[in-house]
Structure formats: structure tokens, C-alpha cells
Subunit: 227 residues, 2 copies
DNA sequence: GAACACAAGATTGTATACGATTTTGTGCCG
DNA sequence: CGGCACAAAATCGTATACAATCTTGTGTTC
């Protein structure tokens, strides 16, 4: 049933939780009780704690001493900073990717985009968002930069949380064209264009968020009273 | 004996070990037995494991299943990638810092440089290296970019490991002039110059490493047989 | 009726115990 | 004498138990 040589169970659980957060099945602020999580996955609190600590290190969950673990609620400042970090890392990485990309890579990227469209068509917005993030990570992998890819992985996951908190419903699928145009630039080995497209794509993403006001960190209390 | 309201003990232990690695008191490849570390710090393996997992996440130690924790030995590839990541993050961050820096920040940076020189004069090369890294992190803090500062913190720590493995003894203190020149650019609020200086400083650092040959990852075996 | 004090409940922090896996030492066999 | 097999030791992986801390409910007092 399991894959042949799986990582430690805590890694597996951390990934499961991270995926749920990424796909917005676990909204920001959700409590992750150690007992509860342990019961769900059939393991003891020891391994759950390891998983939660890893997620806390990635800033996906917040650990409050003697209070428990909660899905993180990125602050306005953090939201800005995450996209500023991405703006430093991703455009130049896209340029490198364009210079190194192979036919196999292009095919893989195309499958990614197709899967994203399918998920969107099936109404699985969360999954589409997850795949959209994977697209960015894949570019870093194509650029053959594991270290940067890891940072981007982390930033993409945090971006997903930021979107969960600050997304202002409006034109939703500017994504489609952006990713498609980016892929064409990559296919043409046009590094300069790829860099420029990635840069503006990230700016578009940022500007589609509602980063005004909301003075304090949106506590779950605020969410509850908002309705 | 303890500080008033310390973090969890595992955080404190992780920092202690990270500092030891940073200052080259713990060479790459060192084994970090859970029992041994626990005895040294007077805690159980539970908290030691948490500390080691955090360090593993930062890539300072490598966790091998059923084998134990070892101080990481960065590969050639990782060495290159770390400095490429720094090259993407730090120059632009230095520019931002130059635009925002205050008198208080400048005084703090000056104290950093002074402490670095003192350590060097006192023959504490490891401590000087640590302070030199702090200088880079401080610049990110001045740029008011916590998220990027965190990444740089991680990259600086890994750089310290890389230096431990790949440093070729030669002119050692190009650092002094580089950091001083950088500080002058910051003081003059000359963002473009600061960016350029940081860029070439990182290139200098990289070129002072011996990244040739050593085909495989340098196992501790090789070290042992080298003498 | 409101505010405070205290106690019961729940949840996390840490230690210890046991099982699984790897390493290493020893002895037999070719 | 070299190589393999097996057993003992060491070390990590996980579960469980207890202590510390926080939350929350209740009763008393003003």
C-alpha cells in the first residue's frame, strides 16, 4: 500500500498537512491538536510533533507554547515580503531555465498546465492553485538550482496561505495566460523574455491581493465575527 | 542560571550547536549522538531530537535514518548553489538597506566590524567568521526584510560550512576592505554602489574557495586519510 | 449583577521505556 | 588465510506516562 521506501512517517504527515493547507482545505487559523492529528494518521504524538515542528519551520503553522499548533495567518507585512523575495529569486531563475530547458522538461510543464486547467474545469480550485504553484517550482528545478528551488517551494506554500487570507475575488484566471506565455518563452529559449514575464506575473499576482487596511493580523475571531 | 524567559530548550540547544558549527568548533562530518548531546545539555533525547531536526531542516546537519546526525558536508554543487542564491538575494537587499539606513544602524554595523577585527586580532578566526556573517544578516535586517533576512541567515550558516570544507588558505582578509567599503556606500545612501559592492564581494568570496575536483562528496574518510 | 478567586479539565512539554535497524565483533567453513 | 554467517552491541524510531501550563467553568463576595 505504501510506496516502497517512504520517508519517515513524520515527513509523510507533514506533507499531507502541507498539501491540505496548500489546497485550502485547512483554512488559516485552524487548530491542529496533537492528539487529533495523531488519531487521524494512527501515530503517536511524538511523530505528530515532529511533523508540526517541520511545518512551523516552513512558516505554514504557528506553534504557540502550551497552546498548540495553528495554521498560520500571514500578516500583511509577511505577505509583501514573501512576494518581494519571490521577485528577487524567480525572474532570474526563469532566465536560467530558459537557457537549459529540454524537450522533456517542456512536455512535463505542458502536462502541469493541462492538469491545472482540468482541475479548474472540475471546480477543484484548491488543487488548481496547488498545481499552479508546482509550475513555479518546476521552473526552478529546470534551472538546475535545488537550493533556490527549495526556497521557492517554501515561498509558494506561504503564498498559498497569503492568497487564502488576502485574495480579493475578481478576475481569477489571469494565471492561464501568464503561465502559457511563460512556457512559450521557455520553449523559445528566450531567457530575457522569460525573466520579464515572470517578473510581471509576480507583480500581477501581488496586485490581485487586497493588501489594504486590516490593521491587525486577522485573528480567527475576526473571521468568525465577519459573517 | 538560565535567562529569564528563554525559548524552548530545543531552540536554545539548536542555536548552541549552530554557533559551534558556525565557528568551526564542530567540523563537517562530526557525529552528533543523541545520547551524547542530551547528556551535555542535561536534557532527554526528546528535546535533542527536536533540535537536530531543526538543524537538519537548515541543512547544517544531515540526518541518516538509524545512523544518526552528522554535521553536514556540503557538496560542490551545494556550495555553488548557495552562493548563487546569495547573489540573487543580497545585492538588491543591500541597495534597499542603503536607502533606509539610519545613524543607529550605522553605529551598530561599525560595532560589528570592530568586533570582527578584535576577534581576528585575538586569533579567534572562527568567531571572526561568525561576526562576518552577522554583518550580512544585519544588512537584510536594515533593509527591513525579515523573510529575506531569514533566508540569508540560513545561507550564511551554510556558507560557513562550505568555507570549512573548501577554503583554500591564501589571502584571508579581503573581508576587511569589502565590508568597510560596503559600509561607506551604505552611509552615503548610495544604493547602486552598495548593490555593486555586495555583488563583487560575494564573487570574491566564491572565488576564494577551491571548488575544483574533489569528485565525490568529501567523506570524513578522505579527511582522515589526508593527513 | 459584576468581578474576582479558585478548582477542574484539557493540552502541551519532557522523560523514560521498548522495539527496530544498523553496525560491528566473532567464529566457522572453504 | 580470506570470506561469509551469525550474534552481540549500539543507536535510532516510536509509543506511552507523568509533570507543567493554560483554559475554562463555578462559586463566593461585594
Amino acid at each position: 500500500m505504501d510506496l516502497p521506501s517512504r520517508d519517515t512517517s513524520s515527513d509523510s504527515i507533514a506533507e499531507d498537512i502541507a498539501l491540505a493547507i496548500h489546497e485550502h482545505r485547512l483554512p488559516p487559523g485552524s487548530k491542529l491538536s496533537e492528539d487529533e492529528v495523531g488519531e487521524i494518521f494512527g501515530v503517536s504524538r511524538t511523530v505528530v510533533r515532529a511533523a508540526l515542528q517541520r511545518l512551523a519551520h516552513d512558516r505554514l503553522v504557528e506553534l504557540r507554547r502550551n497552546r498548540g499548533a495553528f495554521v498560520a495567518q500571514p500578516s500583511l507585512r509577511e505577505a509583501r515580503e514573501v512576494f518581494e523575495a519571490r521577485a528577487l529569486l524567480e525572474p532570474r531563475t526563469a532566465r536560467s531555465a530558459a537557457e537549459r530547458i529540454t524537450e522533456a522538461d517542456l512536455a512535463l510543464l505542458q502536462r502541469h498546465i493541462d492538469a491545472e486547467h482540468e482541475a479548474l474545469a472540475a471546480g477543484q480550485a484548491g488543487r488548481a492553485l496547488y498545481l499552479s504553484g508546482k509550475f513555479h517550482i518546476e521552473i526552478a528545478r529546470i534551472a538546475d538550482q535545488d537550493t533556490i528551488a527549495e526556497f521557492i517551494t517554501q515561498l509558494v506554500a506561504r503564498s498559498s496561505l497569503i492568497i487564502a487570507v488576502y485574495w480579493q475575488r475578481r478576475g481569477a484566471l489571469c494565471e492561464r495566460h501568464a503561465h502559457h506565455a511563460l512556457m512559450r518563452a521557455l520553449a523559445a529559449h528566450d531567457g530575457a523574455l522569460a525573466e520579464e514575464l515572470m517578473k510581471s506575473h509576480l507583480l500581477d499576482l501581488l496586485s490581485s491581493l487586497d493588501l489594504r487596511s486590516r490593521t491587525a493580523a486577522p485573528s480567527s475571531l475576526r473571521e468568525a465575527l465577519g459573517g
